[in-house]
Amino acid sequence: MTSFVKPKIRRQNEPLNELGLARSDYDGAMSTLCAGCGHDSVTAALARAFFELSVVPRDVVKVSGIGCSSKTPTYFLKDAHGANTVHGRMPSFATGAVAANGGLTYVGVSGDGDSLSIGLGQLAHAIRRNVNMLYVLDNNGVYGLTKGQFSAAADIGSTAKKGAANALPPIDPALLALSIGATFVARSFSGDRAQLVPLIKAGLKHRGFALIDVISPCVTFNDHKGSTKSYAHTYKYYHKAIHADYVPPSAEIVTAYDEGELMPVELHDGGTIQLRKLDADYDPTNRVSAITHLMNSQATKEVLTGLLYIDESRLDMNEENNLGRVPLHSIPYTKLNPGAAALKDIQSEFR
């Protein structure tokens, strides 16, 4: 969004990544969200993940819909292109963008209203197409920007600021995604950066559509008892099933972990996620058990977090469509226009 040519002031021995960039180089404009909004923590986690992965800022594309959550792409990676589209329709815009240029890294940020009400259909079809992007769903159970109406993710019985109680069952984006064939499904909590950052990195590395449902409390309209998305509630029932930690291919840290408790999952680009399993029997490559776990946790009203499911085998949309590495805008016109001779013979059938 901004193109100020401002001199970079660096704190002394501020840590730099492989590109020689500091964490602050991944910041964006000042947030205009409420002080304490969970979404700002997610923004910080995103910036850190990009920093740690040493992603070239200009190679990132940020997209969002409309909502408080959807405002956040302006708050990180100021040097990347971004698009704040229309309400609930970011998935189609992102799908078109990804198809046009598979060489960039795509991150979408949305809210539960943007994704599960007006945007449910588009989200489902982006998942089905396995569009190669990270989709972060800032889930607070309400429509923040329009002042606290329930979203489709609001829990039965939770009460809105105005005091009305919700009677409809919540739509669990993770469960929905799994039921329609998602290839990467995770859940975390905005306040838990230690878990969130690695999941974001894994999602960015995943070849295909990566959904991270981030419980991100709305301090203004949904942070009171009654709501299971509130800090109070989430902390009380907070329970990590799996702890994920991304390890870049060429790093040694792996050894720093206790082999006995690790289950490595090969990522398409050769990297691996190391899963720390609290439930010894959890297998993130089994769709049925992922769904079962989720439904059981629903029953016990727990918030299950971590990498719930991953499938690296399916082709992503661009591969499916035989799109090469070259962005569509860089294919020379000579390769697009078959020329006068072809035009003649095409028309032979019209005589």
Binding site: M1, T2, S3, F4, P57, R58, D59, V61, V63, P73, K78, D79, A80, H81, G82, A83, N84, T85, V86, R89, P91, S92, F93, A94, T95, G96, A97, V98, A99, A100, N101, G103, L104, G121, Q122, H125, R129, N321, N322, L323, G324, V326, P327, L328, H329, I331, Y333, K335, L336, N337, P338, G339, A340, A342, L343, K344, I346, Q347, F350, R351
Partner: protein, 604 residues
């Protein structure tokens, strides 16, 4: 008034859809075309898949008219359900041929119509075993009978049949046998040929028979479109089918197997619009074909592309509205919607192709305009143009053409330039800012948004900053007028106080009406508008005439409305001529409407 005479009459084949008659009718038309005689074909089909009445109309027009006559002279009645209607609609002196395997004496009721009974089914059932071929061969048999009665060149028919079944040669004799059945029976039982009939000419040299959707699909390939998204809807579907088919053939890299194009079938039209906008924002030349309902659904996204200044080509192959309306009937009923689609102050660019030749040409033009002006461009066609075969000059491509990508800054330009890049700044004073593509350079990064923004691209809620941008948008739109294809004017051979204005598929019928009006003593100049916003020529044309008939295919005089609002025209001069029954416009309709209007004015 005209016909039926040699090379000037209209054939109508009345059948049931799903019985394979379509290819027989194509054969009939192509035979005449190959005989060097200009033809006009109109397909009137139902909105279902099988079992309902369908009509195919072939106008034989040695004079080379491109539109419908309005009268029908030779009817091949194969559908008992519509016998009555088909008989009723024949012009006096006309001929009705029907399958007399089941005789229908009541068809004799009109003394001014000659009825020619031919036992097609009976003959075919006798000649062929398989049920399937009995049905299909009946079609070839009526072609044969027609050949005898209308003096069609059987050699040409045979060549065409050979081409048709090149893949399955053993079907050729079978089909020719069926043709012979009909031909011989007609010859044996009736005086052939009829007094009105065909006679070979050489007027189709260098011409092709092609439908507008195919031509447009081809045009998008030649114009360098790299991305297409769509949601199936009649009558736009065949446009994307054509693009797909040609890309599959010519756009797959022989070495790598990679596709130099991407087509995505969206889950609905909202998504199709989003797909196109996302792809275009990211550098693809992108388009989406749809019809009226799709435009309604895309409205929100269209406003986003307008305000965010993202190139976008939307093809609206118009069908009869409102709502689902009549999906297989033609109208020009989305003109006003496309001009101003979306909430808030929005105005768009429109191209009005009039025939497949222009569909081919304007497809590329639409892509260029969209990128040059960074805004949605509507390619406004309709069922008549899109789904009927038109005889047009063979399509040619200017080898010197290169796509106009508009003002896109490269990494070099961004990183060497002294001045900072601001997305919405009117650097050149022409109302068109510079844009950058994602991935180009940190110096080119900006945020696309449909919310209030300043000319520097920043979010704003301040009136003056907001106005900066929307005022420039208006200016940009206004200036686009000079970039649109110029109107085509056909002057009467003598000074005329009457003028006619039309767009798109009305052209053929209006041209013919203009000729006949002058012949009938009412000289009128004719201007065909090809783009919106209108250029000064439009104001001048209206200014120069006392009365201007605005011919269009909708109820509410939508084009007239645009002329009143967007030109200096005095609306008292403008006389609406509206055709909206859903059938392609005929010259008779225009002729009569204008003649009546003129009479009224003379009296008044």
């Amino acid at each position: 008034m005209s016909g039926p005479t040699i090379n000037d009459f209209t054939i109508r084949v009345a059948t049931v859809n799903g019985t394979g008659s379509a290819s027989a009718n194509g054969l009939l038309m192509k035979t005449i075309f190959r005989m060097g005689i200009p033809v006009v074909g109109k397909n009137i089909f139902p909105s279902n898949i099988q079992g309902l009445p369908t009509w195919y109309e072939i106008r034989v027009t040695g004079a080379g008219h491109a539109g419908r006559d309005g009268d029908v002279h030779f009817v091949i009645a194969m559908n008992p359900e519509t016998y009555a209607q088909d008989l009723a609609e024949i012009a006096p002196g006309g001929v009705l041929m029907y399958d007399s395997s089941w005789p229908r004496p009541e068809l004799m009721s009109r003394s001014d119509v000659t009825v020619i009974p031919i036992p097609l089914s009976a003959m075919c059932n006798e000649a062929f075993e398989v049920a399937r071929s009995r049905i299909l061969m009946k079609n070839m048999a009526y072609v044969g009978a027609a050949a005898a009665l209308l003096d069609l060149d059987v050699a040409v028919i045979e060549t065409l049949v050979k081409e048709m079944f090149a893949a399955k040669p053993k079907l050729i004799p079978l089909n020719m046998q069926a043709v012979a059945l009909g031909f011989d029976y007609a010859k044996a039982n009736f005086t052939c040929p009829l007094n009105f009939r065909t006679s070979a000419m050489n007027k189709t040299e260098g011409k092709v028979m092609i439908d507008g959707n195919t031509a447009a699909g081809l045009g998008f390939m030649y114009g360098g479109a790299t991305f297409g998204a769509w949601y199936p809807i009649t009558p736009s579907t065949s446009l994307m089918d054509a693009f797909q088919q040609y890309c599959d053939k010519y756009r797959i890299d022989p070495d790598t197997g990679f596709h130099n194009y991407c087509i995505i079938q969206a889950e609905d039209e909202l998504a199709a619009a989003g797909l196109v906008i996302g792809a275009a924002w990211n550098g693809a030349r992108a388009f989406t074909p749809t019809s009226g309902p799709g435009i309604s659904l895309m409205s929100e996204f269209i406003g986003f592309a307008y305000y965010g200044e993202v190139p976008m080509v939307v093809c609206d192959i118009q069908r009869v509205g409102p709502s689902t309306g009549m999906p297989t009937r033609t109208q020009q009923c989305d003109i006003q919607l496309c001009a101003y689609a979306s909430h808030g102050d929005t105005r768009h660019l429109i191209l009005f192709p009039a025939h497949p030749g222009e569909c081919f040409e304007f497809a590329a033009k639409a892509l260029d305009l969209a990128e040059r002006f960074q805004t949605p461009v509507f390619f406004l066609s309709d069922i008549d143009i899109g789904m009927n075969d038109w005889m047009v000059d063979e399509l040619t491509w200017d080898p010197s053409y290169t796509p106009d990508r508009g003002k896109v800054l490269s990494r070099e330009e961004l990183e060497t330039s002294a001045s900072t890049f601001y997305r919405y700044l009117d650097v050149d004073g022409d109302g068109v800012p510079y844009r950058t593509l994602p991935g180009t350079s940190e110096k080119g990064a900006y945020f696309l948004r449909g919310s209030g923004h300043t000319k520097l691209g920043r979010y704003t809620e301040r009136g003056p900053e907001y106005k900066d941008v929307v005022d420039r948008l208006y200016e940009k739109w206004r200036r686009a007028a000079t970039a649109m294809p110029a109107p085509v004017v056909i002057k009467a051979s003598r000074p005329a106080r009457y003028g006619i204005v039309a767009v798109g598929s009305s052209d053929a019928a209006v041209k013919e009406a203009q000729q006949r009006l002058e012949a009938g003593g009412i000289p009128a100049d004719y201007m065909r508008v090809r783009g919106f916003p209108f250029g000064e020529e439009v104001d001048a044309f209206i200014e120069a005439h006392d009365v201007v008939f605005v011919v269009e295919q909708n109820r509410d005089a939508q084009l007239l409305g645009l002329l009143v609002n967007e030109t200096s025209a005095d609306k008292k001069k403008l006389v609406p001529v509206n055709h909206y029954s859903g059938e392609p416009l005929s010259y008779r309709f225009v002729l009569e409407a204008v003649e009546d209007a003129v009479k009224v004015r003379k009296i008044a």
